[in-house]
């Protein structure tokens, strides 16, 4: 058996017995559900108001009123929650000296880093899949355009992957899980700020470059239903780059 599935299985086993995993899962699902609920109620009220004013049954755009808002809200939530999912991956191995076992076993560091990353990605995708209940249920009562929802989920998956890779990177930098979580959050925040800075600089080459580095513009495009390979490439290269740096850091512990 190749070491990657072995490590993934062990990570999942450890996650399922740790309270932090259940807390994160519960918080994430609660916020996702609550956001959807708020937006649906809000949309309902708007529909009522429109009916009173115009006296016609209004056709509301649920994609704009509900789903986009939920996706944008979750984008923020992920910034806080995913570093907590990744914080233990390497920090704990270093603290408990189990990294010594992993690094003296016949496996490559790239296998180790990718297995760790894949374990949290699987967990995250599982949680994300559960939020898919909302559009499924809503589709029973009303109709809306599925395209932006699918690209929205793609955006959440890609963005989550990027955040998780940043979290893995942060976890290799310290023995302390709490520090790793804050570090991960800090790094994500900095990348986010780059986008704001890019907006400030506006229509200049530097501004465009900074906006490109940040995830916001890529996320927004996908959530609006625009599927562009450029954005997918951004997320994939970003994720691979973060994991590569994590690999270098683990390797540098030898010195």
């Amino acid at each position: 058996m190749s070491p990657v599935p072995t490590i993934i299985a062990k990570e999942l086993r450890c996650f399922f017995v740790s309270p932090i995993f259940y807390i994160i899962g519960a918080v994430f699902l609660f916020i996702a559900g609550f956001l959807a609920h708020l937006m649906v109620v809000n949309a309902g009220q708007q529909a009522l108001r429109l009916m009173q004013v115009q006296n016609v049954s209004a056709q509301l755009n649920l994609n704009d009123l509900v789903f986009r808002q939920v996706f944008l809200g979750l984008e923020m939530v992920l910034m806080f929650i995913l570093p907590m999912l990744t914080m233990r991956l390497f920090a704990e191995e270093r603290k408990l000296r189990t990294l010594e076992l992993l690094l003296t076993s016949p496996i490559g560091i790239n296998e180790l880093v990718s297995a760790k990353f894949m374990s949290v990605l699987l967990i995250y995708l599982g949680l994300l899949g559960l939020t898919g209940i909302t559009p499924l249920v809503l589709s029973l009562y009303t109709s809306f355009d599925w395209n932006p929802i699918l690209t929205g989920y793609l955006a959440l998956a890609l963005q989550g992957g990027l955040f998780l890779a940043v979290g893995v990177l942060a976890s290799t930098m310290t023995e302390n899980q709490i520090v790793a979580a804050f570090l991960g959050f800090g790094l994500i925040f900095v990348i986010w700020l780059l986008g704001g800075l890019g907006d400030l600089l506006g229509n200049t080459p530097v501004g465009h470059f900074l906006s490109y580095l940040s995830f916001t513009e890529h996320f927004d495009r996908l959530v609006r239903g625009l599927l562009d390979t450029k954005d997918v490439v951004y997320y994939v290269t970003g994720t691979v780059l973060m994991l590569f740096i994590a690999h270098r850091i683990v390797d540098s512990h030898r010195w």
Binding site: K10, T98, E100
Partner: protein
């Protein structure tokens, strides 16, 4: 099997080990002895490719630790200083994980697990969660982990730490039974342990190797005088002074009781017969007269007390350093 040449490891300004050179032959067991902070763990981490030396080369089973790390890692069973355990797994789950990690084929894992659990005496706790085990049992799980994939080379960092006396003897016997079929490097600061199980002992101090030899030859080499202890029934008040007057005697100390004294003479002067005659003539009642040989304990203290390692005067040491 293990070839270490001139390795030096520096942590920022601190030099943990300096120009360490030694070899371990196939099927041999070498004891690594040294006080705290001597550099034992550092050396072992380099051998297992966990850390890299700043200078020097290491070969294990014919493979270079830097160039062919994967091949080296396949052939080493390593028990680190702190057993690398996942506290949320059970003993069986953990060993299964380690077996797969070490690349053991699936069909061999169950039988290997059974045999190491038997070897280190984990049968009663095999289904318990590691986090709930006592320290000694955790140490045994760590040892089981090192033995699991039946590697030709074993590197054990203080394997008997935290075990009860009965278990220490069992583990020592286990390690001895592996000698011959396995090449073993074992670190310890318990000297009796090194004497009991190792064919050769390396004494390392402040990052330098100060001696390599068999335990018996080490103590013989460092013996600089003959020591004997004499116990009598009714010691006369001036007996210490009179003993000092014997030819060849260098010093006489009283103790541990007033009836006993420790006599040190020049090498090659065995004055036991003279002492016996003296005691009988005086009529003070001979209770005990015996030579005191220098134990490995003394050798160890002798070699590690000095801040500077003793100059390599005799040819054997010269050759090694």
């Amino acid at each position: 099997m293990i070839n270490v040449e001139n390795i030096t490891k520096r942590y920022r300004t601190l030099t943990a080990i300096e120009k360490v050179t030694f070899t371990v032959k196939k099927g041999e067991i070498l004891g690594f002895l040294g006080p705290n902070g001597a550099g034992k763990t550092t050396t072992m981490r380099i051998l297992t490719c966990f850390t890299s030396p700043n200078e020097g080369t290491v070969q294990v089973a014919g493979f270079d630790c830097f160039e062919q790390a994967l091949e080296v890692k396949k052939r080493i069973g390593y028990l680190p200083e702190t057993p690398p355990l996942y506290h949320e797994l059970t003993v069986m789950e953990y060993l299964l994980f380690v077996g797969r990690l070490k690349g053991l084929p699936s069909w061999r894992i169950p039988s290997r697990m059974d045999s190491v659990i038997e070897q280190v005496g984990l049968g009663e706790v095999r289904r318990r969660i590691i986090g709930h085990l006592s320290r000694g049992f955790r140490q045994r799980v760590g040892l089981a982990q090192a033995l699991l994939h039946d590697p030709p080379v074993l590197i054990l960092d203080e394997p008997t730490v935290g075990l009860d006396p009965k278990q220490i003897i069992e583990i020592r016997e286990l390690i001895q039974s592996l000698v011959g079929s396995h090449t073993i490097l074992l670190s310890t600061h318990i000297l009796t342990e090194a004497t009991a199980i190792c064919q050769r002992v390396t004494i390392i101090h402040k990052g330098r190797i100060v001696a390599v030899d068999s335990p018996e030859r080490l103590s013989a080499r460092l013996r600089q005088s003959e020591k004997m202890s004499l116990t009598v029934k009714a010691p006369p008040p001036d007996w210490i002074e009179r003993l000092r007057a014997f030819p060849g005697v260098m010093s006489v100390f009283q103790g541990p009781s007033i009836e006993t004294c420790l006599i040190e003479c020049k090498l090659g002067h065995d004055i036991r017969e003279d002492l016996a005659r003296f005691v009988v003539n005086q009529g003070i009642g001979l209770l005990e007269l015996k030579t005191v040989s220098m134990s490995l304990e003394d050798v160890f203290l002798h070699l590690t007390q000095h801040d500077e390692p003793p100059p390599p005067t005799d040819p054997l040491t010269q050759e090694i350093l």
